[in-house]
């Protein structure tokens, strides 16, 4: 996951028609049109050049001013632009016609002004400017939609990332402080054991810190952490906690989100074994089945107790995390194996490293 998702450069987002590209297209289009105008006209050469330049130059300046005006007034999108563009489609052609007329009469003393010719020119100019407006609006609309889509995607990604962070499970402070309390006594009672506990606790803490930075870990690494965790709980619970691992060697390199099994083991201890005066057994079984890693964490206890209170929330978080990473191909279920055993089953696809990596 990226650390931050930056907003697109906002300075251009509100403007219509890109900067340099707009000038190039504007020049090319009006230039081409001017050349065509020149080629298709008749009469003295200088008059043809002059009128074509006046005609197309005014059109280019007019539409350029139109764009500048729309940007300045921060007009964007068809509903806001339609009125100024409609007005422009009538005014700019008038300016074009006027400029042409002025050039031909003033510079070349072409004093015969035929009304229906001027009107025909004006109508042609209206068509040209209308086409310009249509092209501009279409391009603008496409651009706007693209920006909106990018923004929506960015917001969705931000939401997902923050949700994902919130879903990461951390070491339960309860466990941590109980551990330290036990350690305090062990230092007097059994120094070697105390040193062992410090080592285990350091390893586990290091693992949880790393879990914050990586998407997935191998089952081998996760199981090492689960083992560290359970060994620490064993220091607290002593004979009340019995641990059993049954691991398929083929499953050890399969990937899964970090802290997932640790959370399940912690749930099993907290809601199962810790509540039983005589304690119980916690069993971790892993295997690879039909391209999926399947891990079962089974503990002595009652399902009704396990699904009450905060345990349900912890599982919901873990489920949501799996859904975000693997979609529908991963699952996490909590079932009663028999009357006195609760089993949490995780299924994660083997090949996928998750959507996010």
């Amino acid at each position: 996951m990226p650390d931050s998702i930056s907003a697109p450069d906002k300075s251009h987002a509100g403007r219509i028609g890109g900067g340099k590209a707009h000038f190039a297209i504007q020049l090319a289009a009006w230039g081409l049109y001017g050349v065509l105008q020149y080629l298709l006209s008749s009469g003295p050469n200088s008059l043809r050049v002059g009128t074509a330049a006046a005609w197309c130059g005014t059109g280019m300046l007019g539409t350029h001013f139109l764009r500048w005006y729309a940007n300045r007034r921060r007009l964007n999108g068809v509903p806001q632009l339609v009125v100024p563009f409609a007005v422009a489609a009538l005014v700019i052609p008038a300016a074009m016609s006027a400029a042409r007329l002025a050039v031909s009469t003033l510079l070349f003393h072409d004093s015969i002004v035929v009304m229906h010719v001027v009107l025909a020119q004006y109508i042609r100019a209206v068509l040209v400017v209308s086409v310009w407006c249509a092209v501009f609006l279409t391009a603008n609309e496409a651009n706007r939609r693209r920006l909106a889509e990018t923004e929506a995607l960015r917001l969705a990604l931000i939401a997902q990332v923050s949700q994902y962070r919130a879903l990461r499970s951390q070491l339960n402070p309860h466990f941590l402080f109980n551990c330290l309390n036990g350690l305090r006594e062990l230092i007097d009672e059994d120094r070697d054991r105390a040193k062992q506990v410090i080592d285990l606790l350091s390893e586990l803490l290091r693992y949880t810190l790393r879990a914050d930075r990586v998407e997935t870990v191998s089952l081998r690494e996760e199981l090492r952490a689960v083992n560290d965790y359970l060994s620490l709980e064993k220091v607290r619970f002593e004979d009340r906690l019995r641990i059993r691992f049954d691991i398929d060697p083929h499953s050890l390199d399969a990937k899964l989100p970090p802290m997932l099994l640790q959370t399940l083991a912690e749930n099993g201890v907290k809601h199962g074994i810790a509540r039983l005066p005589a304690g119980g057994e916690l069993e971790v079984v892993s295997q690879v089945l039909q391209g999926s890693l399947r891990v079962e964490v089974t503990n002595t206890g009652k399902l009704s107790i396990a699904t009450q209170d905060s345990s349900a929330l912890g599982l919901d978080n873990a489920r949501e995390r799996l859904r975000m990473m693997y979609g529908e191909s991963a699952s996490l279920t909590l079932t009663a194996k028999d009357e006195n055993r609760v089993c949490a089953t995780v299924v994660v696809p083997v090949r996928s490293n998750g959507l996010g990596s």
């Binding site: 402070p173 309860h174 466990f175 402080f177 109980n178 330290l180 309390n181 036990g182 350690l183 305090r184 006594e185 062990l186 007097d188 009672e189 220091v235 607290r236 619970f237 002593e238 009340r240 810790a274 509540r275 039983l276 005066p277």
Partner: protein, 240 residues
């Protein structure tokens, strides 16, 4: 002071025992690892102080207190304080967070010593067999109290339950008024009528009703009508 340590972790118990060694006026009369052991130990040893782990197998520390008739001075121990802090908003009750530090333990013991002394001065209770009734644990929904009987001005019967009025709260306890009355000192607690018992130490004024019955005004503003028969007894008691 006689203390009982209740915690399901052996290391936690021996750690606390070690910490208490440096306090010479504390005698540890026992340890318990679960609520059942704790109940037996409490009945057998009648401790002055309980060191009680909030989180326990079988039932929580609170449930254990609910099962006790008379509640000693309690110092809760907890690894993470949200539980204790949330539950006890009203009663002045102490708790230690784990790992327990010697300094904080010394402070708690000082408070506990005062509380035990105050309880033994209470004339509110009478001794039945070995145990006296000094304070009771009350839970009403999310809120908990350990309340001294001397601090309760008025108790009211509600079927099998009794409503205790104290300090602006009125929680219900699942004990009949008669059951509670049998453990009360009749010099302090007076049966006003069929459904109410008043604490005479809280009486502010006594007034005569028109038909010869008494009305008792309690500090804090509550008024209680005394039945005709009990009015006569109260007059004798107060030699009015």
């Amino acid at each position: 002071l006689r203390a009982l340590i209740i915690d399901d972790e052996r290391l936690a118990r021996s750690g606390l025992r070690r910490l208490l060694r440096s306090h010479d006026n504390i005698e540890i009369v026992g340890e318990a690892a679960n609520p059942d052991e704790a109940m037996r130990a409490i009945h057998k040893t009648c401790p002055d102080i309980l060191f009680l782990d909030v989180e326990m197998p079988g039932c929580s520390g609170f449930e254990l207190l609910e099962r006790l008739e008379d509640v000693p001075v309690v110092i809760f121990t907890t690894a993470y304080d949200e539980y204790a802090v949330r539950a006890f908003e009203v009663s002045a009750l102490d708790y230690l967070v784990k790992p327990i530090t010697p300094e904080r333990l010394a402070v708690s013991l000082g408070r506990a010593r005062k509380a035990v002394a105050a309880l033994s001065m209470d004339s509110a209770s009478k001794t039945v067999g070995q145990s006296a009734l000094h304070q009771i644990f009350v839970r009403d929904g999310e809120r908990c109290w350990i309340v001294r009987l001397a601090d309760i001005p008025l108790m009211e019967s509600e079927g099998n339950y009794t409503r205790l009025h104290f300090g602006g709260s009125a929680p219900l306890v699942y004990r009949s008024l008669a059951a509670i009355e049998s453990r009360l000192d009749s010099k302090t607690f007076f049966r006003a009528n069929r459904s109410q018992i008043v604490n005479l130490n809280w009486v502010e004024a006594v007034e005569n009703d028109i038909d010869g019955r008494l009305i008792v005004k309690l500090r804090g503003g509550k008024q209680v009508e005394i039945s005709r028969r009990q009015s006569r007894r109260l007059r004798e008691l107060l030699s009015l």
